[in-house]
């Protein structure tokens, strides 16, 4: 019999085909060594390390150049002692940390709630297990049971491999706290991550995407390192575009002593689209309020950043960067402060600022409990901090009919809203942004209930992870959010994702490009700026703030020509 030809049945021996194992070889995740090869294989899942100069500038420990792909991470000789002392100090200082180390019963309620775990499937991204990376060291060396029984009670020895593992996973947590919503003990995993990162910083291990902004902010007042004349120049540039759109030359009050309000916002909105259009929206709003009601505000070049990458670094760095807000409010003699659309900054402002830097308020003579002079509304929630969120302010104005709005200018938009993690979970601010959006846009559809409000999914780029070299990890983490956006696009025709966080505006644009490419991202005050009919503006706008033709109003543009 002739040899059978390929692609005829006789060519294949049935049993042999059955025996083929198509599963490509893979290693057991439990045996992973965090060696240079590990990191090399995972380019796209970790962030470039801090440059020595930034650590030096900030006076933080052990400045040195290194890379996770090096065998030697340049740790000090007594690195183990430093870590143990660091843990001990934090256990003494923070009762919450001690409780979080002790009280987890590993019930697993948090396990499948992390966006990185949902999108990537790495078991060490289950919040319980990520915390366990640190907890196991605590158990081994700080509890009696662990000292005696070690591994039997979940303890493990501190080795360099553990440090290398920490670096990988504590920079795979966006401190979004979705897991904490589901924890029956209320363990705040974000704070565990914060402790993990603080400990790594004791050894000089950090990431450049966080530490460069921290150093820049300490030096110039903002994360991007924009100098005072640069800020003025930027705002003037926005004003030109606003004039182009509306015909109105808006004021740019900078460092104005005696203004009613200090306005502080993340500096990302000065440079990065689409945040820049949101910044234009703020400028238009405040200009309008001055024209109609005489309310005055000021930008500050010293406090040209309300975001705080110190939150992702250490308590000391957070305090240091935050201090300029009250310092500047006092120096300028404003009555109270409004903060712009930012995410993590609101965790600092709402939950930490008053205890970190509250004493700076002493001697701030003009300080008042925030009360809108236009509507008479008193923002009792900010009685102590003296700082309110811009959507609280704007929604109050709209509620009292103080803004003239033409939502039909946004008729071409079908909007959904992403609750940014920190304003949602740290502040509980759910209704105000929705109220504002629904008043400036006619078409609004929320995403499914288990993806919004307190259960909102992170953009995957918070807590200093939003850099491009970390793209794959961010896209994994962004899958649950992108999936929900895609759903409302398919079901309701949503084409715009509104959010109130500078990091969201940057990273969700990318997340949508990949997971829901038909949907574009906007800030809330960009929508407000487009819908607001300003006193004395040109008869008919023909462009939106992006200088794109305003759909439905193109005829007017032809008339202009």
């Amino acid at each position: 019999m002739a040899d059978p030809k390929p692609d005829t049945m006789d060519y294949y021996k049935h049993d042999e085909v059955l025996d083929i194992d198509y599963t490509p070889p893979s290693e057991n995740w439990m045996d992973i060594k965090y060696d240079p090869a590990f990191y090399e294989r995972r380019a796209g899942s970790w962030i470039y390390t801090t440059k020595k100069q930034h650590i030096e500038y900030l006076g933080m420990p052990n400045p040195h150049d290194w890379s996770p792909t090096d065998e030697d991470w340049g740790l000090p000789d007594n690195w183990k002692e430093i870590i143990f002392n660091g843990i001990r100090e934090r256990l003494d200082k923070y009762r919450s940390f001690k409780i979080f180390m002790d009280c987890c019963v590993r019930c697993g309620a948090c396990a499948d709630k992390c966006h990185f775990y949902i999108g990537g499937g790495d078991p060490k991204n289950m919040p319980v297990l990520r915390a366990e990376l640190l907890r196991s060291i605590y158990r081994n060396d700080f509890t009696m049971a662990g000292k005696i029984l070690g591994r039997l009670v979940g303890g493990r020895k501190l080795t360099i491999n553990v440090i290398k593992e920490w670096f990988y996973y504590f920079y795979q947590c966006t401190e979004c706290r979705r897991c904490s919503v589901f924890c029956p003990y209320g363990i705040d995993t974000a704070e565990v991550t914060m402790m993990g990162r603080e400990l790594l910083h004791l050894l000089g291990l950090g990431v450049n995407w966080i530490m460069q902004p921290v150093a820049s902010c300490y030096r110039t007042g903002n994360h991007l390192g924009i100098l005072p004349h640069g800020l003025k120049d930027t705002l003037e540039f926005f004003a030109e575009d606003i004039e182009d759109v509306t015909g109105i030359e808006v004021d740019i009050p900078i460092n104005q002593k005696g203004a009613d309000i200090l306005f502080a916002t993340p500096s990302g909105d000065f440079l990065a689209e689409p945040g820049t259009f949101t910044c234009m929206g703020y400028m238009m709003l405040f200009h309008e309020l001055k024209e109609r009601y005489g309310l005055t505000y000021t930008w500050s070049t010293y406090c040209s950043e309300a975001g705080n990458f110190g939150l992702f670094t250490s308590k000391e760095a957070m305090k240091r960067l935050n201090a300029k807000i009250y310092t500047e409010a006092k120096r300028l003699g404003v009555k109270w402060i409004i903060g712009g659309e930012c995410g993590h900054m609101w965790r600092v402002l709402h939950q930490y600022m008053d205890t970190l830097n509250g004493e700076i308020k002493e001697g701030w003579k003009e300080a008042e409990e925030p009360k809108s002079p236009i509507t008479g509304t008193v923002f009792e929630n900010a009685k102590s901090t003296k700082m309110i969120h811009i959507t609280e302010f704007t929604s109050d104005l709209i509620k009292h009919g103080k803004l003239k709005l033409d939502p039909s200018r946004n008729d071409h938009l079908n909007v959904t809203f992403h609750d940014s993690c920190n304003p949602a979970r740290a502040m509980g601010i759910f209704e105000e942004p929705r109220y504002v959006i629904k008043n400036v846009c006619k078409n609004f559809h929320d995403m499914p209930p288990n993806t919004i409000r307190e259960q909102t999914f992170c953009c995957g780029g918070g807590a200093g992870l939003g850099t491009d070299e970390n793209m794959e990890m961010r896209l994994r983490g962004g899958l649950p959010r992108g999936n929900a956006v895609k759903y409302v696009h398919d079901k309701h025709g949503v084409n715009k994702l509104a959010c109130m966080c500078a990091i969201d505006r940057a990273t969700l644009t990318t997340v949508c490009e990949y997971w829901a490419p038909e949907v574009d991202v906007t800030g809330i005050h960009e929508l407000v700026g487009n819908a607001m009919v300003m006193k004395g503006e040109k008869e008919q706008r023909t462009k939106d703030l992006r200088l794109d033709p305003l759909p439905g109003f193109e005829d007017a543009e032809d008339d202009d020509v």
């Binding site: 893979s26 689209e273 649950p480 940057a506």
Partner: protein
């Protein structure tokens, strides 16, 4: 006489769930359990996408549609795998697993030579599907690179405007705005 298609239809209830299980077992222990267990599509986009796609592809193979038309279905899961911790071969291996499953499920029936002949045709189509899967994988990876470049440009868009390096935002989008791009897969690209 019963043909392969009828046999596969009869065994659909057993083959499809097994294919899904095997596909999701590529993830480490706890994760594969979670992906299989959680049925809510928003709590578990990975598992639900796989569940939807393997069913769709299996039915389409039975209907003998052109394999190329299954690109968008494949994209539903390969888009996910291409940004996860998989090598390219791991990412698309689930396609090949179908061949083995069908052989296992039809072990007894395959003593019929006619059926075995039909099986060769079916397996050829699965192989073609794997080639399409590789195209989809590559196009997803290219997309990741493209959006990374665009993101970096957006981050400094104001600077690029001011220095005259770009004249409008459209210059940031070499292939037109994201979303309208629907860039062709390499095998459709003509010039590629």
């Amino acid at each position: 006489m019963t043909g392969l298609k009828d046999h596969l239809k009869q065994k659909r209830g057993s083959i499809v769930p097994k294919w899904l299980t095997q596909s999701l077992q590529a993830y480490p222990g706890d994760a594969s359990g979670f992906y299989l267990r959680e049925k809510n599509q928003f709590a578990n986009p990975v598992g639900s996408s796989f569940a939807e796609v393997v069913e769709k592809i299996f039915d389409a193979l039975l209907e003998e549609v052109e394999v190329e038309t299954l690109q968008s279905a494949l994209e539903g899961v390969i888009k996910i795998r291409s940004v996860q911790e998989f090598t390219p071969s791991q990412a698309i291996s689930f396609v090949f697993e179908l061949k083995q499953l069908v052989r296992q499920e039809l072990n007894d029936e395959l003593s019929d030579p006619a059926l075995r002949g039909e099986l060769v045709g079916f397996e050829n189509r699965v192989d073609q599907l794997a080639l399409v899967a590789f195209n989809v994988y590559m196009s997803c990876r290219e997309k990741v690179c493209e959006i990374r470049v665009r993101e970096v440009k957006r981050r400094v868009s104001r600077l690029l405007h001011r220095t005259g390096l770009i004249e409008s935002d459209a210059d940031l989008e070499p292939n037109g705005p994201p979303g309208n791009g629907s860039r062709p897969y390499p095998n459709q690209g003509g010039s590629r």
